[in-house]
């Protein structure tokens, strides 16, 4: 069941002669884990901002084509309406925190929607519990670590109970261990039923979770499909995508040695290596 559909979208920022997005078409189904990647300036952030209406409503500009969320054209819905279906987490946690208390931060969106207090209280509790940050409820958000801040922001977005969670380079400012834990958490949310759209460079940590992937370059989609089908393609490396080292390893040795399964993660690459070496021993 398609939840977000992009139909031949071309978008120009106000005053720009070059399109930020050109002829983008894609379908996101309920339960998908879509990975979006590409070099800087390729339009990734612009694309995800069309999913909740920030583009075109907040920025204006020239919007051609159509983006539909649950069948409704985003041009005729407000961002507030769309925020109940699509929630976005950006990369800089410090600029996404608006209040001086974690609890109120999580409640903020719900208060804006005018929901009854009982509902707000319930949803805030659920969100804090799901993200394991109940112990942080009275803390001041900007005094927390980057990883904790991002969790607070995810909780704030989740409290609005959207069906789709969009992440725009959420681990950009995190160290590798925090990033790993965060991306595992995103996968858990996918398992719980959320549709996930994530813009990421750390493909070694997240490609294994995605069932769909697109590569953007200069505002166009240059590759679309399953990660295991796209990553080994030359277009991936040529576009400036951070192709994981083990994928590049695979490409180097797969001409000479037969490899049965494409390694989508470090773990699978280890299995691949073991298997290749054991074959050598049998000669």
């Amino acid at each position: 069941m398609t939840i977000i559909e992009v139909d031949n979208l071309t978008y120009y920022y106000p005053g720009s002669s070059k399109p930020a997005l050109a002829n983008i078409s894609l379908k996101i189904d309920r339960g998908d884990f879509l990975l979006i990647t590409g070099p800087s300036g390729s339009g990734k952030s612009t694309l995800v901002k069309t999913f909740n209406g920030i583009i075109p409503h907040l920025y204006g500009g020239r919007f051609e084509g159509k983006v539909s969320v649950k069948g409704k054209d985003t041009r005729y819905c407000t961002v507030a309406e769309l925020s109940r279906t699509v929630g976005i987490v950006f990369q800089d946690p410090e600029n996404q925190i608006l209040t001086l208390s974690v609890e109120r931060e999580v409640a903020f969106g719900l208060e804006n929607l005018g929901l009854p207090r009982k509902v707000i209280r319930e949803r805030v509790e659920n969100a804090l519990r799901d993200l394991n940050i109940e112990h942080l409820r009275d803390r001041i958000p900007i005094e927390l670590s980057v990883g904790e801040q991002q969790k607070v922001i995810v909780a704030s977005v989740m409290a609005m109970m959207p069906e789709v969670l969009v992440f725009d380079e959420p681990t950009a400012h995190m160290d590798p261990l925090s990033a790993l834990k965060f991306l595992d958490l995103v996968y858990e949310l996918n398992m719980k039923g959320y549709t996930i759209v994530i813009v990421e460079h750390r493909l070694d940590m997240v490609a294994k979770y995605a069932n769909k992937m697109i590569i953007l370059k200069d505002g166009k989609i240059v590759a679309k499909g399953k990660p295991k089908d796209i990553l080994p393609l030359d277009i991936a490396e040529e576009s400036g995508v951070d192709v994981p080292r083990y994928v590049r390893l695979y490409k180097k040795i797969s001409n000479i040695v037969e490899i049965k399964r494409f390694p989508i993660s470090v773990e699978e690459a280890a299995i691949m290596l073991k298997e290749v070496l054991s074959r050598g021993k049998s000669y």
Binding site: L58, A80, N95, L100, N112
Partner: protein, 259 residues
């Protein structure tokens, strides 16, 4: 200088406590604050002013966290001393030593101190978000009331930016201590412009986040912690006003009675 900014900012950081003032509705506290300020302004007799201070300290001991208030106020004392010296010199000129002026200046600083004390008392016992709600319930549009909260929220962020810019420019050889007045002003631009630009860039992101959280979507906004005026608030207002009324009455007597 930075410690002054951080101590002002600290005042707005609410930490949950059980004392009385933390439980009073912000609108009542606002009324009460206005009443205290009016009293401080009206009362000119020294002894009565000391009485007001006693009242404030008693209020703090009963209803708030005195160590917290003292910490916030401590950092201001240096600034107050500076003000005192300036006021004294300006008013004593051309005389160097004038006991009368010294005393008057002290009174002026003393009243200013009490003003700061009241505001500290108010803000440390009131979550900023509750104040925003109080203003909203008093008729101010939410997005305007929220502006204040948002500004306070970003004080440490902007301060951090300022330090980062200061470090970055010093690392390029910028020396603020050197150069004449004009030169230093130009050097200051090297600090101010990046801070402004980073702040302007931030505005875009904050706008995106506000929109994404449905800010302004609904005419009647609800609140997780809804403000309600209780019996406690009414009683507080009544009992806390009595000493103030007494002091005002005494001052009035002093002004009109011929002793």
């Amino acid at each position: 200088m930075l410690s002054l900014i951080s101590s002002v900012y600290e005042i707005f950081l609410f930490r949950k406590r059980k004392q009385l003032l933390y439980r009073i509705d912000p609108r009542i506290k606002l009324l009460h604050l206005i009443f205290i300020l009016a009293t401080i302004v009206f009362v000119t007799n020294v002894y009565l002013q000391i009485l007001i201070l006693v009242y404030l300290v008693a209020l703090t001991l009963i209803g708030a966290d005195i160590s917290r208030i003292w910490r916030s106020v401590k950092n201001m004392l240096k600034m107050l001393m500076l003000f005192y010296i300036v006021i004294y010199i300006v008013n004593a000129f051309p005389k160097l030593l004038d006991l009368g002026v010294a005393f008057q200046s002290f009174i002026a600083i003393f009243r200013f101190f009490m003003l700061i004390y009241c505001f500290s008392l108010f803000f440390t016992t009131t979550p900023l978000d509750d104040l925003t709600q109080a203003l909203y319930k008093l008729g101010i549009p939410y997005h305007i009331a929220f502006t204040f909260t948002l500004s306070v929220r970003f004080i440490p962020t902007v301060a951090k930016d300022f330090i980062t810019v200061y470090d970055a420019q010093r690392a390029r050889g910028l020396e603020l201590e050197k150069g004449g007045f004009l030169g230093r002003v130009r050097k200051f631009l090297a600090l101010l412009i990046p801070v402004f630009i980073v702040s302007f860039l931030r505005v875009d992101r904050v706008a995106e986040v506000l929109e994404s959280r449905a800010f302004g979507a609904v005419r009647r906004r609800t609140f997780l912690y809804e403000l309600k005026i209780k019996l406690l608030d009414a009683l507080f207002l009544i009992f806390s006003s009595i000493p103030l009324l007494l002091v005002i009455y005494l001052q009035y007597c002093l002004l009109s009675c011929v002793w």
